[in-house]
Amino acid sequence: MSEREPGFATLAIHAGAQPDPTTGARATPIYQTTSFVFDDVNHAASLFGLQSFGNIYTRITNPTNAVLEERVAALEGGTAALAVASGHAAQHLVFHTLLTPGDEFVASRKLYGGSINQFTHSFKSYGWNVAWADPDDISSFERAITPKTKAIFIESIANPGGVVTDVAAISAIAKKAGVPLIVDNTLATPYLWNPIKDGADIVVHSATKFLGGHGNSIGGVIVDAGTFDWMATDRYPFLSKPRPEYSGMVLAETFGNFAFAIACRVLGLRDLGPALSPFNAFLILTGIETLALRMAKHSENAQKVAEYLVAHPKVAWVSYPGLSGDRYHALAGKYLPKGAGAVFTFGLKGGYEAGVGLVSNVELFSHLANIGDTRSLIIHPASTTHRQLSDEAKTIAGAGPDVVRLSIGIEDAADIIADLDQALAKV
């Protein structure tokens, strides 16, 4: 099939997964093993020297994980990928590969709260300093760049509020500054949006969410777009300088347009260790096989629920880019023609008490702190994840007392709406 380009749904099922060469197994086997025997001493030497493709130890490579890696790389249009233990581990390895102590990076201030924590506190202790910019004011990215800036980080659709980021505009700023653009594509998934087409150099995922899609496995993926010229500068020594770990090898020279994924693996994953369990990789892979069907249904359901809520007398506002009056509707038209995703927030006129009342009275929605499940999920951030903050701080974080976040599942839309309807009647 090489002479024509397979479509998305075909890649979601086949990319990376040829039948098992030794057993003929058609589904990807779970290679639940720590280690792999060498063919002989020469083979071992080739593997340790990165001269041959192959498996040594599951912390570095595993055949089940490799299928997941190649599949996500194919779906995103990247050259290679690396699967790791979580979305947070993916971000850790990306920045470890790019930054040294004292370096800076620019990040959108509209991010998943866990990423804001990771950048603000944990990364700070490595000497990696974040400068925040506002995706609603593109020029703020340009202003945040200094001679120490090594990367820009954004989310394509930002959690939790249904913010659509102008990826192409920020990519132009990154290119002008000569730094790679990292895009977290977790909420959109490659079905709704391929940020590499809009200039992303690196894509990261929490595979825990829509890729796996069934709320059963934590995992993360780093995708190398193969677009950044690491040899053009000496600012990324992991890629452009001889590595003492590998007898002086220059990774960008040896591995060309997939060197970033290799560097994250052989320098980051090898030494920092957040390997993905092959069992989790198997479950995430199985989820990805139905990604096209699920994302279409997630988006279709979310559109219906958003339209229902915006017309409800107890609802103050709805932030969903699929709604015609939404501030991100035009960007959604440009970047998300297949649907605006399934995670969004809305506000209740009854404030804090109404929020607590809603999550206490839903029956079908699960009250929990995750997104991207087949099941519909609900959370009232002010009484849970953002409980410790002052009211003012809650509002700045998009978690004001009236805010409710939904992750719409793939149940029947009528049942999802009926559940919200009966619960809203009680608040």
Partner: protein, 179 residues
């Protein structure tokens, strides 16, 4: 022939159709890309002859270096060129002087010289430019996916083990259902 893109079927036929490969510009340094390619192709069953005047007579990884192409004592099917594009015409002159004439001249990733390609094709040779035979072999066998690299190929046919161990695949695929 169009050298901006190659069908997988063409690359597969090139790599299946050769058994002896000379690598011009091969390095004896184990950290260099040309060393990787020479060792990998040798491990995949090709008979590899590294060519580098500075290393003539030296034996590295079980392979003997030759000073020039014409010093290689047997017929060469393919010449893989690890030299900058401006040096390709001189290499091609040496290739065209070989008897018998090699079937393929392959210029490495980053190396392209269209004028030389036209001359080689006029002499009846097949030409591949700006590609790496290790990457192409790894893509077409599926081995490259073991490192998370996008092979840009999909197949429901069972890959064949190459032999000599379990972590080596052939680029050939039998018909559906073949043992």
């Amino acid at each position: 022939m169009n050298h901006d893109r190659y069908d997988d079927a063409f690359i597969r036929s090139v790599l299946e159709g050769v058994s002896t490969i000379a690598i011009v510009g091969a390095s004896a340094n184990a950290a260099r890309p040309s060393y990787f390619v020479m060792k990998y192709l040798a491990e995949r069953g090709y008979r590899v002859f590294p060519v580098n005047p500075g290393q003539a007579g030296k034996e590295v990884a079980g392979l003997t270096f030759y000073g020039t192409l014409k010093d290689i004592p047997e017929p060469i099917d393919m010449v893989d060129v690890f030299r900058a594009p401006e040096h390709v015409p001189a290499v091609l002159d040496e290739v065209l002087a070989l008897v018998p004439l090699p079937k393929v001249i392959w210029m490495q990733l980053g190396v392209r010289n269209d004028e030389a390609a036209t001359r080689a094709e006029a002499a009846g040779m097949q030409v591949v430019m700006n590609r790496c035979p290790k990457i192409e072999y790894g893509r077409l066998s599926g081995e490259i996916g073991w490192t998370g690299v996008n092979s840009r190929t999909i197949s429901a046919r069972r890959p064949k083990l190459l032999g000599g161990g379990v972590q080596r695949l052939s680029i050939s695929r039998g018909p559906q259902g073949q043992k």
